[in-house]
Amino acid sequence: MQSAQTTFENLRKDFPILQRIVRDNKTLVYLDNASTTQKPNQVIDAITDYYRNHNANIHRAVYALAEEATELYESTRDKIANFIHIPNREEIIFVRGTTEAINLVAYAWGRNHIQKDDIIVTTEYEHHSNIVPWQLLTQEKGAKLVYIGMDDNGELILDDLDKYLATGKVKLVTFSLMSNVLGTITDAEKIISKCKEHGVLTLVDGAQAVPHMPVNIEKLGCDFFAFSGHKMLGPTGIGVLWVRKSVLETMNPFHGGGDMIREVHKYETTWNDLPYKFEAGTPNIADVIGLGTAIDYLTKLGMENVREHEIELTTYAIEKLSQVKGLTIYGTKDISKRGGVISFNFSDVHPHDVAQIIDEEGIAVRSGHHCAQVLMERLNVAATSRASFYIYNTKEEVDSLITALTKVARIFKL
């Protein structure tokens, strides 16, 4: 049997883009996986195969192609259910991505459950997609949005949550399972159990967690869960919202249209069964199928192994980066509490300048506020550079990053 190490070394051949030469004859070192991951041949082929051989609309026609397309599409729902331990497949709704998932909840749940003076709790390390929809909702309803603070170690201050829950006005607590900037893994079980004691619903943004570690929704016990396909080897434009059935049944539709109806009359309509009530119109069939293949790929690797690989790589990267003079790493150094995301600043050099100079060496990192300006304010920085890893990254690539940073030091005379 192959060791996990060999498996991870061999899988690079599945990703044609990793052979790309960029800029001045440099091999691509792709370290922007928290933003989006590359796609293996298997996923690319599954999408092509659908369009070449099975393309038809789903859930309607009786001919062979339509049946095949429907089966391929629906099989992804089963794969998702197995992948993150969801007992009821009809609780899985396909959406464009995490952003749409959260907006769906804010609209279809929030509008008939949030009232004046109610409180929605989010955190200081959320992505804008888990802040702005709640600002819109609370502003519309005259409700209040409050934040669980973050300590200097990049971890949430859960005393804040206790304080909010004690008011008796909290209707929803929403948080990411892993910060997209700091990589902090949230103590979700603790938050959820506190909320349950107060009968408060919880939404978990799993966009950064699902691609990188085992996730068990049944065990987690939240009420809403969202993630995106493109951050886990899948295509863009497809994501998942899971909602506990008892909650889903209290929600109005998000979009009206085809496929979400049972009967339409001139002035009234009855809704289709779950989850179709929330999937109006022809869905993104090809990319749902692509996501299914991505899940197959990750299942074969084993999410425990994925996490293990990233722990090893992140430990190595933090150790190496810590040796670079003038470099500040944000967030906890405790690897058990963080994923493969490292945000840093290099002396007083702006992250854009860092990113541009190392791009000349073929290294792709993200620079900017990472759609987390509330967190940037908390850290008192305008921006950070961010390296984020995935299954295909290697220690050699971390070394290339370190070498490229010496060029930054040289140009900026650090």
């Binding site: 000349e360 900017g368 005379k413």
Partner: protein, 147 residues
């Protein structure tokens, strides 16, 4: 083709490390703020305007080396000039001063943020000091076509 990192020449680094006209003006005649939504770069410009001339100008904020260097150069170009001359400052004036004419599209917004703030400041000043509404309309059109 030369690499994009070539933009980081001595002058850019010096200006970014030791920006010119960096700071705030007490009681400015006009002040304006804008930011770049993509990267969070953020610039404020304060101006004193005396006898239709920019008698003093300062900028502050956070930005990358390109943004800081261009802001320095822009304030140097602007200081002492008449309002009409400032209206005519183009992006080429700023970019050529620093040899950034071929800056890639993704960074051009870093280079021109301060010019955008300067023009916005100027137009907001002129808008409140203009009497003729036709002039104001012309000004709005000019401002809308800046980018």
């Amino acid at each position: 083709m030369s690499g994009n990192a070539d933009i980081y020449h001595e002058m850019i680094i010096d200006y970014s490390r030791n920006p010119i006209n960096f700071g705030k003006i007490e009681n400015p005649d006009v002040t304006f703020h804008d930011s770049n939504p993509l990267c969070g770069d953020s610039i404020d410009i304060d101006m004193k305007i005396t006898d239709d001339k920019v008698s003093d100008i300062k900028f502050h904020g956070k930005g990358c080396a390109i943004c800081m260097a261009c802001s320095s150069v822009l304030t140097e170009i602007t200081k002492g000039k008449g309002i009409d001359e400032v209206r005519n400052i183009t992006k080429h004036d700023v970019l050529s001063e620093l040899g950034l004419e071929h800056l890639q599209a993704v960074r051009i917004k870093c280079a021109l943020l301060s010019l955008k703030v300067l023009k916005s400041a100027l137009y907001s000043y002129l808008g409140t000091h203009m009497k003729d509404s036709q002039d104001v309309d012309k000004l709005k059109e000019e401002a809308a076509n800046l980018y």
